[in-house]
């Protein structure tokens, strides 16, 4: 409705909008937000805030909006950008995340939850393959950076005493339509008793999948100790099942294309 002050410190409604006008007004605001229709998240969405991805995003939102006029960039970087990996822990020298300011530059930060459920018949594969639906990413967004976050518990397996290398591969089509090839996206070597989030640079895969959603076959995760390949639970990696706050997720940082604002306006 429309409200006005009545002069004695109260706000009163002076006109209620008819339903059709209300719907049109909502549509206008949705259009302004870059949405063609009102999102209809799962009915239990409100209860998802204890899950890792929403929790991370709420935390990030609170940090970024804590002091809107003067966001402390160092705080943001310290909390949300992966810290430089120590010498000897690097399997590949990716430095872009630690030196970039894309948290500040991003017009849109989007989290994705793992969608792999029953599409792979073998449980072995279901634990190793992660797939994130990027079909909702608006056209024209430029990928500034993207990271895959997997939680690793401290290993309790007495047989594993060495470092564990976790490789993240992007699955790409092979020569045969049924084939898949593995392209190494990022790699991380940690001590077997390390506990915490492992952050992998998956920017290239995100760029590929946002430009061609049909090419999205997901990631394949491999954990190696010495020359032995480990099951995910042997490497103490949290995959599909685990505490809500430690489930794997992906975060991508996007910038709106310069010419086309951050959304496509609907024709009226």
């Amino acid at each position: 409705g429309f409200y006005s002050d009545n002069g004695v410190d109260q706000t009163i409604m002076y006109r209620s909008m008819p339903k059709q006008e209300r719907n049109e007004m909502q549509q206008e605001i949705l259009s302004l937000l870059g949405l063609h229709h009102r999102p209809n998240p799962a009915s239990h969405a409100a209860n998802l805030t204890s899950y890792s991805a929403p929790r991370y995003m709420i935390d990030l939102y609170e940090t970024l909006t804590g002091d809107e006029e003067d966001v402390n960039l160092e705080t943001v970087k310290r909390r949300y950008l992966p810290q430089p990996r120590e010498r000897g822990e690097l399997a590949q020298d990716y430095t872009f995340l630690t030196s970039s300011y894309f948290v500040q530059d991003a017009d849109m930060i989007m989290s994705f939850v793992n969608q792999v459920k029953h599409e792979y018949p073998l449980r072995h594969d279901r634990d190793r393959i992660f797939r994130f639906d990027m079909s909702e990413v608006p056209l024209g967004e430029t990928v500034l950076g993207a990271e895959l976050r997997i939680y690793k518990n401290s290993s309790l397996d007495g047989h594993i005493e060495n470092n564990i290398t976790v490789n993240v591969y992007q699955l790409v089509p092979g020569i045969d339509p049924e084939d898949r090839q593995l392209v190494l996206a990022d790699s991380y070597t940690v001590s077997h008793d390390h506990a915490g989030w492992l952050t992998f640079n998956v920017t290239q895969a995100t760029q590929d999948w946002t430009s061609d959603a049909f090419a999205n076959y997901g990631f394949y995760i491999q954990a190696i100790c010495g020359h032995k390949s480990l099951e995910m639970h042997e490497a103490s990696l949290v995959t599909r099942y685990g505490p809500e706050g430690k489930l794997p997720f992906m975060v991508a940082f996007f910038a709106a294309a310069a010419q086309s604002q951050s959304h496509v306006r609907r024709k009226r």
Binding site: L33, R38, P39, A45, A53, P54, Q115
Partner: protein, 133 residues
């Protein structure tokens, strides 16, 4: 919905000013100023998909850019000239417009239909200042 708040007293450009005459006070009330406009996501019933914020103070510009423009109206040089020309030729030259001169962004955190969470920055959504232009 404009909402009366404690902080709204320092919102309008006309506040905190010593008015010498009643006429001057009434004139200032009509002059170009920023007024509060609160967009409530809760009132829209969108709290199931917008996680934060509950709403935001968007503000709007309201008032007249009439002679004499002065410092309170944050007028551009051209607006001052246009006001004078309007005085001479009111039928052919309009008064300057009371418009936003400074805008800032808001960030909205929401779910999409796949329960992914999106943090999106919308530039130029909040009127920080109004002026005659």
């Amino acid at each position: 919905a404009p909402r009366r708040r404690q902080e709204s007293s320092n919102v309008a450009a006309t506040d905190n000013y010593e008015w010498t005459t009643y006429y001057e006070y009434k004139s200032a009330q009509r002059s170009c100023q920023r007024r509060e406009l609160y967009v409530s996501f809760k009132d829209l019933g969108w709290e199931d998909w917008i996680i934060a914020p509950d709403g935001y103070s968007a503000f709007y510009c309201y008032g007249e850019c009439a002679f004499p423009l002065n410092a309170r109206m944050n007028a551009s040089n051209h607006a001052i000239v246009q006001t004078l020309v309007n005085l001479m030729k009111p039928d052919s030259v309009p008064k300057p417009c009371c418009v936003p001169t400074k805008l800032s962004a808001i960030q909205v955190l929401y779910y999409d239909k796949n329960s992914n969470v999106i943090l999106k920055k919308y530039r130029n959504m909040i009127v920080k200042a109004c002026g005659c232009h």
